[in-house]
């Protein structure tokens, strides 16, 4: 479904990604973790072309994202993305947030879009807030709406960029619950940048550990946690698991 081959990226002289190669199969959940500044967010932003890469190849659903001729808008519409700071459109109600791209990008009618919106908001437990504005919701609520907004496009895969790191601790669970359900019940293909190790252990098939722009480990979840091979991963795990 998602393939990255020898991807490298520079900001000027600074190399943010070094020769990254990994793969996400259909229905697989892959967690990307690593210390801050290791390039995890940049890596998943490359998958839907939000960031460009200078070297290497990225293929999503048999379409090459990195090709010069890539039809990026059509491709992006098929890949959902959830951001750290939610990024709901502040000037629109929850309902319009979900309907906008359905109507303007997918060409659905207003009534089709609203029907889909209601189904998804019910599912993430936000149907009671359908006519509120994002500024009137808590962080956890906003993130659930943002997940519903991505799902409204009927994506073939979902990218999550630190979806819980801007949330208060008591709101993290409500967002993770939605994500767990998505992975388990829908079998959604997911690439998740997160430090939530509980979530990773519960649903991730594989963990990709990054450090300084390179993929250091890429292994099945259990193996990664029980027996990390690299010194850097061991050090990282000891720091985040000992609390």
């Amino acid at each position: 479904m998602i393939e990255l081959e020898n991807v490298s990226k520079w900001y000027g002289d600074f190399q943010v990604l070094t020769d990254c190669t990994t793969k996400v199969e259909k229905g697989e959940v892959v967690v990307v973790c690593g210390p801050s500044g290791s390039g995890k967010s940049t890596l998943i932003k490359c998958v839907n072309g939000l960031e460009t890469v200078q070297e290497g190849r990225i293929v999503v659903d048999e379409a090459e994202v990195t090709a010069k001729s890539a039809k990026l808008t059509a491709l992006r519409a098929k890949i959902g993305m959830v951001f750290q700071h939610f990024e709901l459109y502040p000037h629109m109600s929850v309902c319009d947030n979900l309907c906008l791209a359905q109507e303007k990008v997918l060409g659905r009618s207003r009534s089709e879009a609203e029907a889909r919106t209601e189904t998804l908001l019910t599912r993430v437990g936000m149907i009671d807030h359908i006519s509120k504005y994002p500024g009137q919701l808590s962080g956890g609520q906003q993130q659930r709406v943002a997940i519903a907004r991505s799902l409204a496009m009927d994506p073939i895969a979902m990218l999550f960029d630190e979806p819980t790191s801007a949330l208060d601790p008591e709101m993290i669970k409500e967002v993770l619950d939605v994500m767990v359900e998505l992975a388990r019940e829908d079998g959604m293909t997911m690439m998740v940048v997160t430090h939530e190790m509980g979530f990773a252990r519960k649903v991730a098939d594989r963990v990709v550990f990054m450090d300084q722009g390179a993929i250091v480990e890429d292994r099945p979840t259990q193996e990664f946690y029980e027996n990390p091979t690299s010194e850097r991963a061991r050090d990282f795990l000891s720091k985040i698991l000992n609390h």
Binding site: R76, M81, P90, H91, V105
Partner: protein
């Protein structure tokens, strides 16, 4: 000081008529120029934020040119120099046949000058919208045009209502410069009343009061607009 106050001259039909006619021209020039400023300013402001380097450079050049030349000089250029610079037929038409030449020239000069200032507000407004919102819209498959149409412009136009209020007030005040090319707007009419009656205090006081009243009305309208367009629970970048 030996000055004979005589406020009643202002209400003599002839002079009162001049004031009203001046007020009419002032409002007409200002509103027409404002329409030009909004349309041209929005286009130029958006142009400066586009990824296309060529377009954004042209728009930057427009802003720097029109913002940095004194408005009075621009009025004179449009009125005296432009008809000589264009092809002969067009120049003759501008000098002889163009209806209301002072009015049209004043509107164009004031409109294009104010557009450069509006453009800066629009650009600042667009740049204030958090980068993440742009990414979110793009990640949903929207084109650049759709991102502007549905996300960036609706948010930034709401954000810039307060600074645009000052520009709106300024366009009324700047319209007084049209008297230099012979348009009998409010300032010109009060000057004329002062010359006819020698009651210059009264005449200019009348103009002052009328300008203040216009400004108050404009402020009230803009604050109503601001309240009407306020986004519930949102106050701009990283609120």
């Amino acid at each position: 000081m030996n000055y004979n106050w005589n406020w009643s001259v202002l209400f003599e039909p002839e002079y009162f008529g001049w004031l009203i006619s001046g007020l009419g021209w002032t409002i007409s020039v200002a509103l027409c120029a404002w329409v030009i400023a909004l349309v041209v300013g929005s286009l130029i402001g958006v142009g400066r934020t586009l990824p296309n380097k060529f377009l954004s450079k042209i728009c930057t050049a427009y802003v720097e040119l029109f913002r940095n030349i004194p408005l009075l000089v621009q009025m004179f250029i449009w009125y005296f120099a432009v008809p000589e610079m264009v092809p002969e037929d067009a120049g003759r038409w501008m000098k002889r046949e163009m209806p209301q030449p002072e009015f049209v020239t004043a509107v164009v000069a004031l409109g294009l000058y104010t557009a450069s200032r509006v453009a800066e507000q629009v650009r600042a407004g667009i740049e204030t919208v958090p980068q993440g919102l742009r990414s979110a819209a793009i990640s949903q498959g929207m084109s650049i045009a759709q991102v502007y149409r549905y996300i960036l412009l609706p948010i930034s136009f709401r954000l810039i209502v307060p600074p645009m209020t000052s520009e709106f007030l300024t366009v009324f005040k700047n319209s007084s410069l049209a008297l230099t090319i012979g348009l009998l707007e409010l300032t010109a009419q009060s000057q004329q009343i002062a010359e006819y009656t020698f009651q210059s205090f009264e005449a200019y006081t009348a103009a002052t009061v009328i300008y203040v009243l216009i400004a108050l009305c404009a402020t009230v309208i803009m604050s109503l607009l601001e309240r009407q367009t306020r986004i519930p629970g949102y106050s701009g970048k990283e609120s």
